[in-house]
């Protein structure tokens, strides 16, 4: 990668950051159009830079670009959408595309586990809570981001620093060796060598090298279960601050569970 590519990348990150900043929910008139334009441009530029300059062409690189684009798009919608329900649904999109990326890496078991656990359980409970907690009307705190400028600045500086380093050609001799090794162990070759059937590998690793961690994970889940039960059994008094916590007009539209 030439230095000019690096600067191009930074430019794209700057564009993306600006677009995201414009898209984050803020009061005042809508700035969606320039935001969308900037973001889409930045994403397309990034993907084309990656596709042209970085990725070794193979039959799966197209899939990689596609699912990366979907994941990044979904993630930016998660954080910019004004309705939490949509945020959650876009997150499902992120999960599915990440699962697809994992399948590209021959981590099928993990991919399916990701879908079952995240999409099948976690996000459903998020949705459940969103449904219980608020109806479709927009709230103040969803339409007003908090310190969006600094957040975007910090986030994108960090992102640019890491990704810039990741795609940068090594300069020092040591780094060059490492990079050369990485290049040698091109994933294409590496993955062909993997045996068919990822589940058995996962099981083998899980039950031998990582058995203690597996036990700890089990205990962690148990603790979380106990904690959740304890939390949900607690009687919480509504703190009186003079106002009814929900406007009167909403009462008919709200339901208690069961």
């Amino acid at each position: 990668m030439t230095p000019s590519t690096g600067y191009l990348l930074y430019l794209l990150f700057a564009m993306g950051g600006a677009g995201l900043y414009l898209l984050l929910p803020q009061p005042g008139k809508s700035r969606a159009l320039p935001g969308v334009a900037l973001s889409v441009l930045a994403l397309a530029g990034l993907l084309s830079v990656l596709a042209v300059k970085v990725i070794a062409p193979s039959d799966t690189s197209a899939y990689f670009c596609l699912f990366s684009a979907i994941a990044i798009f979904g993630a930016s919608r998660v954080i910019t959408h004004r309705k939490p329900v949509y945020s959650a649904l876009y997150f499902v999109l992120v999960v599915i595309s990440v699962a697809a990326l994992l399948v590209l890496q021959r981590a099928e078991f993990l991919a399916v586990a990701l879908i079952i656990v995240y999409a099948g359980a976690i996000i459903v409970t998020y949705l459940f809570v969103i449904m219980l907690a608020q109806q479709s009307h927009e709230t103040v705190y969803d339409t007003r981001a908090r310190e969006p400028f600094f957040a975007v600045l910090v986030g994108f500086v960090l992102m640019a620093a890491i990704t810039g380093k990741a795609v940068e050609p090594a300069t020092t001799s040591e780094a060059k060796i490492v990079t050369a090794q990485f290049a040698q162990q091109n994933l294409a070759g590496a993955i062909e060598g993997l045996p068919e059937g990822n589940t058995a590998d996962v099981a083998a690793a899980l039950l031998t090298k990582y058995i203690v961690v597996l036990e700890i994970a089990g205990v962690l889940l148990l603790v979380s279960m106990v904690g959740a039960v304890a939390l949900s059994r607690k009687k919480i008094p509504v703190e009186g601050h003079g106002l009814p916590t929900r406007p009167l007009g909403q009462i008919g539209k709200e339901v208690e569970p069961f």
Partner: protein
């Protein structure tokens, strides 16, 4: 003593000590949830086991060959502080210990059994039922520890534990202000005595380098200090007087007697326990145990005798005019304890312990009887509201009468023999001491039967709405058993005097060796009739005279007391006001102390707190400036944190 016997003693000693503790723990831990109205069982079983073990100890000691009836039994090393000074948990078991154990556990068992019904209202346990029994058993444990302990440290431990338990039990009805105040008073007054006692023990340790009884007494009798220097008379007198100070506190002698009458606020079984078996006897026991120290100082013995005599007379006069049944009994206890001190003071420790022994029976009987009356009368204890109860409460009356006769020194009952001995020794020591003893005996008979006649004879003066009823079997059984004791135990001290013979090894090198008038043993065999029986006739006559006087004044000619009251109103008031000792203490000690306290509070509030406030104000002022940086939003902190990470990453990768 054989190894078997030592093992028996060790095991039994442990049972005596730990069974009541276990009972207390069980009653306290399981009482509220599990046992509930059965909470008395752990205490009864614990104290019962202790009694059984005490009997075993007694039998072992009794059966031991002559001259070997004493055993030091180490249990384990308690405090090891290098430099040769270590303290052991050890038992000293000799005839005195075994007798005291028998008295303590026996009386306590009866009291605990008695409490089973007493602490119930219509067969429903009172609030704090399990607490009561837990404390009772703990009290027994503390007293047993005091008696069994083989060194001054254990003695002190038991001493303090007894004080604590008395505090807890006197304040049993802690929601009643009078009870709470009485508990506090008992504790504080005891604290005064214990302070002296503690100083005494420290002085013993400083002087002799050990707290173990045997070693200390041996050094005292050899007249040397631990350093080898000769023991100065002043030092041993100081030790004895300091120990006496503690004894005065525990045994309610002048001038620290004020807590005992107030302690009547506790439930009656507690009073019985405190007065008969456990707490107040601790002082007498201690002085008897430390005979070597006391007999080494004539001054101390004189002080003991004078305090005893004064207390006996002083308390008896107050008891003359009191109206509260339990208070009369309380003052009589003080008076009888005075007798015991007097006995010790005239080198008749065995007689004093004998009196302690007999007194335990009839005083427990009287208090339990009073409790029975009180229970029957629904809590009323003022004798002016009684009268004619002998028909309503026949069993209580009979047992109470036995106790009263014993207390008065009616010939043939327990109190007669023991008191008589003390008066005899007092007379042979100094005629004033003996005279005081005789006068007190007369007064004792008089005020005791004043109470009996007011309560049980004459017209019924029971207030409206009170339905007096005889108590249940759990309460009557101990009363009957104690009556038998009150009649019978006196005969242990006549004729061949088995009691004194049994105790003799303990005192033979201390009190007996110094007693100017050996009355028992070989000396008395050759005395003439009047020498032998004259005093008995005199004191018995005085008792009967007192009883008859009380009969005429309080059962017949009820106007005479009123006349006396009107004739000498100031004396009457002084008696009624208990010589205004409490008021004097209040004016001389309590109020000045309170003033000092106020002054200290002022210093604390204004000066020290002000300083602290000032120290706190400086960082607060600084924080006031700093807190503007904390906006309070977690996300803001997060942004700054990640900004830091981003800066580090940028510096690391690109610089």
């Amino acid at each position: 003593m054989s190894i078997d016997a030592l093992n028996t003693l060790k095991l039994s000693g442990l049972v005596v000590l730990l069974a009541p503790l276990l009972g207390a723990i069980l009653a306290g831990a399981l009482g509220p949830k599990v046992l509930r109205s059965r909470s008395h069982w752990p205490a009864i079983l614990g104290v019962g086991a202790a009694l059984a073990a005490s009997i075993n100890i007694f039998m072992t000691i009794y059966g031991a060959p002559a001259g070997e009836a004493s055993a030091r039994i180490p249990i384990y090393d308690w405090i090891l502080s290098g430099a040769g000074s270590s303290f052991r948990v050890e038992f000293l078991i000799d005839p005195l210990t075994s007798l005291m154990l028998l008295t303590v556990t026996g009386i306590s068992l009866l009291v605990v059994i008695y409490s089973r019904d007493y602490m119930r209202e219509h067969d429903k346990p009172e609030r704090g039922y399990e607490r009561f029994f837990a404390f009772l058993a703990l009290f027994v444990f503390a007293m047993v520890a005091l008696v069994l302990g083989g060194n001054f440290l254990l003695l002190y431990l038991g001493w303090e534990a007894v004080g604590l338990c008395s505090y807890l039990l006197i304040g049993f009805y802690y929601s009643k202000p009078a009870a709470a105040a009485a508990a506090k008073k008992a504790f504080l007054v005891n604290r005064v005595g214990d302070f002296g006692f503690g100083l005494g023990i420290l002085l013993i340790y400083l002087s002799f380098g050990t707290l173990e009884y045997g070693a200390v007494f041996e050094m005292v009798q050899n007249g040397v200090l631990a350093s080898g220097e000769p023991l100065a008379q002043g030092r041993i007198t100081a030790i004895a007087l300091l120990l006496l100070c503690g004894a005065c506190g525990k045994s309610a002698q002048l001038p620290l007697h004020v807590w005992l009458p107030d302690a009547m606020e506790g439930p009656s079984p507690v009073s019985a326990l405190i007065h008969a078996a456990t707490m107040v006897t601790a002082g007498v026991y201690m002085i008897a145990r430390c005979g070597a120290i006391f007999t080494a100082s004539t001054t101390a013995m004189t002080v003991v005798a004078i305090i005893g005599a004064l207390t006996a007379l002083f308390a008896a006069t107050i008891a003359l005019v009191q109206m509260d049944m339990k208070r009369i009994l309380a003052y009589s206890t003080i008076s009888q304890l005075g007798y015991m001190f007097l006995g010790i003071g005239v080198y008749a420790a065995d007689s004093a312990v004998f009196h302690l022994f007999t007194h335990a029976f009839f005083k427990a009987l009287l208090f339990l009887g009073a409790g029975s009356v009180m229970h029957a009368m629904g809590g009323i204890i003022d004798v002016r509201y009684f009268g004619g109860l002998r028909k309503l409460l026949p069993w209580t009356f009979l047992t109470f009468l036995v106790g009263s006769l014993a207390l008065s020194g009616f010939p043939g009952l327990a109190g007669f023999f023991s008191k008589d001995e003390i008066i005899h020794h007092a007379l042979s020591s100094h005629w004033i001491l003996g005279g005081v003893g005789l006068l007190t005996a007369l007064l004792t008979a008089f005020y005791t039967f004043r109470m009996v006649f007011l309560a049980f004879f004459g017209r019924e003066r029971v207030p409206e709405g009170v339905h007096a009823h005889e108590s249940g079997k759990w309460m009557l059984a101990p009363l009957l058993l104690l009556s038998v004791g009150a009649i019978g135990v006196g005969y242990l001290g006549v004729g061949a005097k088995p009691f004194h013979e049994f105790l003799a090894p303990v005192f033979e090198h201390t009190f007996v060796a110094n007693n100017p008038a050996i009355w028992h043993g070989h000396a008395s065999d050759h005395a003439g009739f009047w020498e032998h029986y004259g005093l008995m006739i005199v004191s018995g006559g005085l008792a009967i005279f007192g009883i008859i006087g009380a009969y005429f004044l309080y059962a017949r000619e009820l106007w005479i007391p009123g006349l006396v009251k009107a004739t000498v109103p100031r004396t009457y008031k002084a008696l009624l006001g208990k010589y205004f000792v409490d008021e004097a203490y209040d004016a001389t000690i309590v109020t000045p102390a309170r003033q000092v306290g106020r002054f200290c509070v002022g210093i604390d509030n204004w000066f020290i707190d002000g300083l602290i406030w000032f120290v706190a104000a400086v960082p607060r002022a600084i924080a006031y400036g700093l807190r503007l940086m904390h906006a309070g939003g977690m996300q803001g902190y997060g942004v700054s944190m990640v900004a830091g990470i981003a800066i580090i990453v940028v510096l690391l990768f690109w610089m």
